[in-house]
Symmetry: C2
Subunit: 389 residues, 2 copies
C-alpha cells in the first residue's frame, strides 16, 4: 500500500509540477460545449466580471451581414451558459462575444482556421455528421508533401489522402483532385471539409471506390498555407494575386504530372476526377475544359462562375470552343451543386442555361442553405460515391 | 478599363458576400503580434469595454505556480497594447486575460494545443528559432498513418517524417523514434517540437543525416490524439491510464515492426535511435533497456526518471540487469539533457549517479531553464546531428 502511494505521489508530482513549470498551458474544469443525447448543446464560459456575453454560431440564421447571436445567462458564480434547441447533425462553428470582444471558448481545444479566423468547432452525431467522424474502420493516410511546380517556379505544398491499403498493396488507384475556395489553401478540405473521415467512411461502407484525393493549393502566389511557407507566421488575407486569371489552370499540369509519376495511380481519363468549392469550382470548370479530354468526372460545388461575357480574364479565352471539345470528347459526370440561398445561385443558373443551350449534360443538385461548409461537406459526401464506377 | 472594373467588382462581390454568408469567420484589421526588427514584440487587443487586460507569455518569469503577466495599456479607441523588450530567438506562447478571463488573440491564427489548452504562438528569428522556421530548402513529408498494434489490441495513429528524397530515391534510412511527454500525443513533437522544420534545416545544412522520424502515441489507452480517434472531440486530460506501467515499453515492438516492414529503413541497431521528453524520456530509458541490443542512440530530454528503489511498477523489474546488458552490448550515444531549474533535476542527478556507479557512459547536457518546450526543441536540435555518424 505504501508503495502504491509512493507511485501515486510520484505521478502527482509530475503532474502538478510540470503544470507549474509550463503553467501557461493550464485548463479550467468546465465542459463546453456539451453535446447532449437529445442533440441540444450547452455552452459555458467563466467570465465573472463580464456584463454581457453572447454566443454566435453558424446554426443560427444570419441577420443580413451580421451573424446571428444570442445572449448567454450568468449564474451566481459568474458562469455564463446557453443551451440550444436540438441541432441537426453537422459540424458547427461558434464564437463568444464578451462585452463586445469576440473570443474563442477556452474549454474547447478543437479549432479550425478559415482564412484569417480561427473558430471553435463541435459535432452533433446522428445524421450526416456520422460521415465526418473518425470511426473504427480502416483509415487512409494523410500526407503533407512538397512538389516542384516549374510553371510557378517554386516548390509548393499539397495534402494527399491515400486510402487504407495503398501503402501495403499493389493496386493502382483513381485520383480525385479536390480544390478549395478563395482564401483557402491545401489545409481547407482536410480540416473544414473532413475529407479523410468522409472518404474513410464511404470506402469502408462500400459506397465509394478507394481513391487518392489530392488537395492542392490554388493560390499560385503561395508556396503553402499561411504558417507553412518561408513567409512565416503572417496574417492571412482573403484575396491573393493570380488566383482567378488562368495561372492555376495553366500550371495544373504540374500537379497531375507530379501525382502520376509519384503515386500508384491509374493515369487515364476514366480515373481522374476534379472538383472544388466556390473558387475551386471555378478552377475545376476551367481546368476540365483547358484539358478537355482529361477528366471523366467534374464537380462544381457552389462554383464561382462568372458568366458575364465582358470578362476579360485570360481564363475565358476560347471558353465556348474548349467547353464544346470537352462535351464532344465525352465524360461520365458533370455534377453541379448549389444552395438555394447561395449568392452565386444566379451565376450557376446562368451557367446551366449556357450548358443547356449547347446541349452539355450535367447532374444538378440544389440544396437548402448558402455558401457554406455545411453544403460542401454534403456535396463531397454525395459526389464521391458517383466516381470511378 | 471598364472590363477591368467589372472583374474587380466581381471579385469584390465574391469577397464581401461570402464573408456575409459565412460571416462568423470575419477578422479584424489589427496586427498582433507584431515582431519588430529589434526583436521586441507588440501585442494588440481591441476590447473597449474591458477594465483590465493583461498578457501572459512564456518568456516572462513565472511567479511560483502563477505564470508571469503584465498589464496592457488602453488607448482612446479601446485598443489595448503592450510591447516587450527585445526577446531572444525562440517560439513563444502567450494568452490574454480580459477582466480576469483568459482568452486567445483573435488576430493571431497560429495556435498550438498542449494537452487541454490551446495557446497562440509566434516566433522571433535571428537565433535558435531559425532552425524552427520553414525555409527554402528541400522539405520532407509528414504523414499521419494508422498501424496495427496487436499488443494493445487496437489500430493506432502515428506521425511520420520522411526526409526529402525518401519517396523518389532507393536508399534505406535510419530511424529516430521520438516520444512525447505526459498529456501529449502523436501531434506534440510535430506541432510544439517543430520536428519537420528542425530536421529539414539540419539535413539541408549537412548537419544531420537524412533520417525518418517516427512520432508515436505513448498513451497506450489511446488510439490517437484527442479529436483524431473514435472518441470524437472530448476534453483532453493530462493523466491517462497505463502510460508509465510498462505497457508502452512492452508493446513498442509493434511500432518497430510496423516501421521496419513498411518503410525503406536500415533495420539494425546502428540505425535506430530513441529519444523523448519527460515521460517520453522515461519511455526511451526503459524501452532501450527492455530491448538492450536494439538502439545505438538514446536521448533522455528532461526525463521523468523515478529512481526510488521502492517503485513497484512492473517497468522497474530487472532494471539493473537489463541496464547492464545494454551497457555490455554497447551503444554509441546515451545522451542526457536537463535544465538547471527543472523540477526533475534531482531525479536526473540521481540517475546519473547510478550510471556512474555501474560505469555506464553518457553525454550530459545541462541547460538553463526548466521543463519547457524551449529546452526540448534545443535538445532535438543538438541531439539529431549526433545520430548515425
Amino acid at each position: 500500500m505504501k508503495k502504491i502511494l509512493l507511485i501515486m505521489v510520484s505521478i502527482a508530482l509530475l503532474n502538478i509540477d510540470s503544470y507549474a513549470q509550463q503553467a501557461l498551458w493550464g485548463g479550467e474544469q468546465i465542459t463546453s460545449p456539451e453535446v447532449k443525447e437529445d442533440h441540444s448543446v450547452t455552452f459555458r464560459l467563466q467570465a465573472p466580471n463580464a456584463k454581457e456575453v453572447k454566443i454566435s454560431g453558424d446554426w443560427m440564421p444570419a441577420e443580413g451581414w451580421t451573424p446571428g447571436s444570442v445572449a448567454m445567462t450568468k449564474d451566481e458564480k459568474g458562469l455564463w451558459s446557453y443551451t440550444t434547441a436540438a441541432l441537426s447533425s453537422d459540424l458547427y462553428g461558434y464564437s463568444f462575444s464578451v462585452d463586445g470582444m469576440k473570443t474563442t471558448d477556452p474549454n474547447n481545444v478543437y479549432l479550425i482556421r478559415d482564412v484569417a479566423s480561427v473558430t471553435n468547432v463541435f459535432m452533433v452525431s446522428g445524421g450526416k455528421a456520422d460521415l465526418y467522424k473518425v470511426t473504427k474502420v480502416p483509415h487512409g493516410s494523410v500526407t503533407r508533401r512538397w512538389y516542384n511546380s516549374p510553371g510557378n517556379g517554386m516548390e509548393r505544398r499539397m495534402t494527399i489522402y491515400t486510402p487504407a491499403g495503398y501503402e501495403t498493396g499493389k493496386d493502382k488507384y483513381p485520383v480525385l483532385y479536390l480544390l478549395h475556395g478563395m482564401g483557402g489553401d491545401e489545409e481547407a478540405w482536410i480540416a473544414l471539409g473532413r475529407t479523410s473521415q468522409i472518404l474513410d467512411n464511404l470506402i469502408a461502407q462500400g459506397k465509394a471506390k478507394p481513391m487518392i484525393v489530392v488537395m492542392t493549393n490554388g493560390n499560385v502566389a503561395q508556396e503553402a498555407a499561411p504558417g507553412e511557407s518561408s513567409l512565416g507566421m503572417y496574417k492571412p488575407t482573403f484575396q491573393l494575386p493570380n488566383t482567378m486569371d488562368g495561372k492555376f489552370e495553366e500550371t495544373f499540369t504540374d500537379v497531375i504530372k507530379f501525382v502520376e509519376s509519384n503515386y500508384r495511380v491509374k493515369a487515364d481519363k476514366a480515373d481522374r476526377a476534379i472538383a472544388g468549392l466556390s473558387m475551386g469550382g471555378y478552377h475545376s470548370l476551367h481546368i476540365s475544359r483547358y484539358y478537355p479530354n482529361t477528366f471523366d468526372y467534374v464537380g462544381l460545388f457552389s462554383a464561382a462562375i462568372m458568366t458575364d461575357p465582358k470578362n476579360t480574364s485570360k481564363v475565358y479565352e476560347n471558353f465556348d470552343s474548349t467547353l464544346k471539345s470537352q462535351m464532344t470528347n465525352g465524360y461520365k459526370l458533370y455534377w453541379i451543386g448549389i444552395g438555394k440561398a447561395d449568392f452565386l445561385y444566379k451565376n450557376v443558373s446562368d451557367y446551366r442555361a449556357k450548358l443547356d443551350e449547347i446541349g452539355m449534360k450535367y447532374t444538378y443538385r440544389e440544396s437548402e442553405g448558402g455558401h457554406t461548409w455545411t453544403n460542401w461537406r454534403v456535396y463531397l459526401s454525395e459526389f464521391a460515391p458517383l466516381l470511378f464506377k
